[in-house]
Amino acid sequence: MCLAVPGKVVKRDDDLKATVDMMGIERPVSLRLVPTAQVGDYILVHAGFGIQIVDEQEAQETLELVNAMSELVEEDQLATNPAEAY
């Protein structure tokens, strides 16, 4: 219900107004809901507002987890009956 896309804060002023770069497109975004966001941070942008600072650490860990899962798949593929792997 709530389209939000990540973008990088490339400029901010004291007024909580920022410019955010979303993969090459720039738009003014309000930091009213993420007042601690700094230049260089990625934030989730929804309807012209940042709604959360993206946690890059967590992003990394998620990808590692997913990679682990896929390794699981590869291991499972060695098993003769994948449906019984669990």
Binding site: M1, C2, L3, A4, P6, S30, R32, L33, V34, P35, Y42, L44, H46, A47, G48, F49, I51, Q52, V54, D55, E56, E58, A59, E61, T62, L63, L65, V66, N67, M69, S70, L72, V73, E74, D76, Q77, P82, A83, E84, A85, Y86
Partner: protein, 360 residues
């Protein structure tokens, strides 16, 4: 940082394989609560590639779909105020009320403008000080903080010609209604990532506590969604109900307290009627009396036409997960995106529209 790994086809393929393994011959019903999940699942073609036993039901998370016909008629009535400028997200434009839509009213000469942000509506209000500028407020927890912030900014900027028609809703009461519904059996909820960005995880714990039903908060990239499904299926299969988080980069356990505080300041809970689910206590948000000058409901007394429900439309059943869109006898026959019968077919996030558009 580069988020493209969340679209990596290889990762996606592996997760799909893993889901197949986990589901096996089982029958599992999951509901994606969020309309953006519904659209993404359709767009990524996931239904065409899931195990036969895994059913992905669409929930009540399309804001315009669950907006009662009466509210839409009211919004259209506001659009007829002489000199008014109506601002709205694109989603609302083509939704039919009892006899017309904002798009048709615009074609008939009303000044209705699409904005990307409620802040754009404030700028329009500033440029047109002599005309009422009304923002059509629909949406869930993700959107309400932006509306609250806009109202506060209107006050700070002295834009007294700005107001909001508020039809906002909160997610958990609807989930409770669905979990309570005897006609639907949901084994797990794919929880809305960007709602949780604001709310955190706590508001969803009742699902486990009261209904023993698990949920996983999920992001929106292909890998996010597949990972969420994967985690949820694993919980279901292992039968250890919990609320988990597959979208940690965008959702922390406590959500966004700054945003919640703004919502608290400007809005108060109210009873409201959901299309399909009926009236649900304390499931809506109303503008607090202190801000009533920004409340288009109280500020403008407009005649709202008698509500006529679209005949034969089963949006309500679709929104509860009681049927899938293709079970509706009108689906794809008299009801298509071009000639929608119900809002679920017209909103781009509507389940029926997403099913139709990406039918596999």
């Amino acid at each position: 940082m580069d988020f493209s790994a969340f679209r990596d086809p290889k990762l996606a393929r592996e997760l799909i394989e893993r889901i197949h393994e986990l589901v096996g011959d089982r029958t599992i019903n999951l509901m994606e609560v969020c309309g953006t999940h519904t659209v993404s699942i359709g767009r990524y073609g996931f239904r065409s590639i899931m195990p036969a036993g895994l059913k992905l039901l669409s929930g009540p998370g399309c804001p315009v779909c669950v907006t009662a016909n009466r509210d839409i008629d009211h919004a259209i009535a506001l659009a007829n105020i002489d000199g008014a400028i109506i601002t709205t997200f694109g989603d609302m434009m083509r939704v039919p009320g009892s006899s017309t839509s904002l798009a048709a009213q615009k074609a008939a000469g009303r000044d209705i403008r699409i904005v990307y942000s409620p802040l754009d509506a404030l700028d329009i209000a500033e440029q047109n000080p002599d005309r009422p500028v009304i923002f059509m407020g629909v949406g869930f927890e993700t959107t309400t903080p932006t509306i609250a912030a806009a109202i506060l900014e209107a006050e700070a900027r002295g834009l007294l010609n700005f107001s909001v028609y508020c039809a906002h809703k909160t997610t958990p009461p609807a989930l409770r209604a669905i979990a309570n519904d005897p006609e639907t059996t949901i084994d797990g909820f794919i929880l809305p990532g960007h709602v949780a960005t604001i709310t955190g995880l706590a508001p969803f714990s009742f699902l486990v506590d009261e209904f023993n039903t698990p949920g996983v908060v999920t992001g929106f990239e292909p890998v996010d969604i597949l990972q969420g499904i994967c985690m949820l299926v694993q919980i279901v299969v292992e039968d250890r109900p919990a609320i988990d988080n597959a979208y940690r980069r965008g959702v922390n356990a406590d959500g966004n307290p700054v945003a919640r505080q703004l919502v608290e300041q400007v809005f108060e809970p109210c009873d409201t009627t959901w299309r399909g689910l009926g009236p649900i206590a304390a499931s809506g948000l109303a503008i607090r009396p202190e801000f009533s000058r920004f409340d288009a409901r109280t500020r403008f007394d407009v005649p709202v036409e008698a509500t006529v429900e679209p005949r034969g439309c089963r949006c309500g059943d679709v929104l509860r997960g009681a049927i899938t869109p293709s079970d509706c006898p009108l689906f794809g026959r008299t009801c298509t995106p071009e000639h929608p019968v119900g809002p679920c077919m017209v909103s781009s996030e509507g389940s029926c529209a997403a099913y139709y558009r990406y039918r596999n």
